[in-house]
Amino acid sequence: MEFKKIIKTIFFTEILKGMALTFKSMLSPAVTRQYPEEKHPAMPGFRGLHALVVDPATGKEKCIACGLCAAICPSQCIYIYSTEGPDNKKFAERYEIELTRCIYCAFCVEACPVGAIVLTEHYEYTDYSREALYMTKEKLMANWNKYMAGPKGEEYFKKFWHPTADDYRAYDGQPMFRKREG
């Protein structure tokens, strides 16, 4: 026992073991990502930049200016100024989100009763000015057209607008543990 300890002390066995591991990883492929060139693809349902849903039938926003998103917002960064339209319907004259204060919890998406706001998968929107990070209604609708328009937007509400009826019941094909073959 004592002899083994002396040998270990003289020959730095534990340090050599560590170095062997380092050498082994040197030959294995790198796990780091060269970020600006090599982008991390956001997973579906990522909570990124906001967008206001544009109704493809009318070309206008779906928002009914009920103010639930502003009520639930934990950082209170949504401002809605509602007014009466020509058809005597309430609508949001101004719909503004302060991105510098938003915490991207997606509670606004959950609170919205009509599915009028989403968080897109776009996450690179840093800027030097505050104005660029202050989203107006026009900007938010442009975001929808840019990142979510078409089938992608429809898919979003099917999958990521919670809670759904499926959250309250057991359904067929619920994800379960399955043993891998072989």
Partner: protein
Amino acid sequence: MGEIEQEKLTEAAALKTRELTVSMGPQHPATHGVLRLVLDLDGETVVKCTPHVGYLHRGIEKLAENRTYLSALPLTDRLDYISSMSNNIGYVVAVERLLGIEAPERAKFIRTIVGEMTRISSHIIWVATHALDIGAMTVFLYSFREREWILDLLEMLCGARLTVSYPRIGGVRNDVSQEFIDSLYKFVEGFDKRVDEYETLIDQNRIWLKRTKGIGVISAEEAVNWGLSGPMVRGSGIPYDVRKYAPYDAYDKVEFEVPVGKDPGDVYDRYRCRMIELRQSAWIIKQCIEKLPAGPVMAPDAPKFTLPPKDRVLKDMESLIHHFILITKGPTTAPKGEIYSSVEVPKGELGFYIVSDGTGRPYRMRLRAPSFIHASVLPRLCEGGLIADVIANIGTIDIVLGECDR
């Protein structure tokens, strides 16, 4: 002896020595955020150590009073921001106990899984930064590889990597996907080998042993008297774990061991505890995935406390009313009373004391933050030791100032 040398000796004897006061932090890289220590030094020995906290105070307890139970949830993300899921779980478990509702079985299992995932990621960060502080940089590079995997899985699960806000009062936000389960199972199957790698690098390393053995010793009795919890008290040999003593979620349905350190309860023992906990967490996740039952992920029998399903909001009058009331006023039928409920977060025992006055908002929310209590034991660990060991002691208590200052 020459005349000049004699003169020098008398001069040295006449020189006065005095204690030096050094302010360490709040911008010191090894203080894990914004901890400030005022150290009185006699040469290299620490005579007195005074922690100054509060640089990261955001008034989370007060902020929660003006929010509904649901919308106070993201605040708890910002407590211990490297294991936000554990804090979320602590909060929703407390609120559920207050409201008297229970999450469905599947939601409980999912919560256990994600809670243990953040425990792994928190302990991984701990071993990485602790080793980096002490001088072993290599572990950092290895452990962040696994952390990235966990963060990717969390992103797949709920769309956010760090501030997740995933659990909900009465369940979880959404069901897990098949892809998530498969990928996580693959992760936990190979995780023991990864822990072996970290251990190869530092476990027997003579510098690591010199820097950790016999440093920051605290006996079992003292650890209890100081109110320590988590790996801090387990490292001293007390097998105290909230997951065992007051099981919440699905911890009473899985098997796991509570690792305890041997005598004397030093930095090395706590390191061993956390390394074993990493393996135990992976084991818990594995069991939970295998036992994951089918069923709802939101409590179906508590319509006054959980948001109604979206397809019913615009079709069913009652659901629409519940939806509007819950969002704007919170659960207004919440019972009056108070509750203390605690969960085991990676740092220790995180307690939520919530007073409800029957409105939809907490009348008072008080947190028992393990990091704050562990910061108070710092002077006891540091005094009498060397200044270099202060770094090892800050590392070993695994302090996160977001939680400490709240």
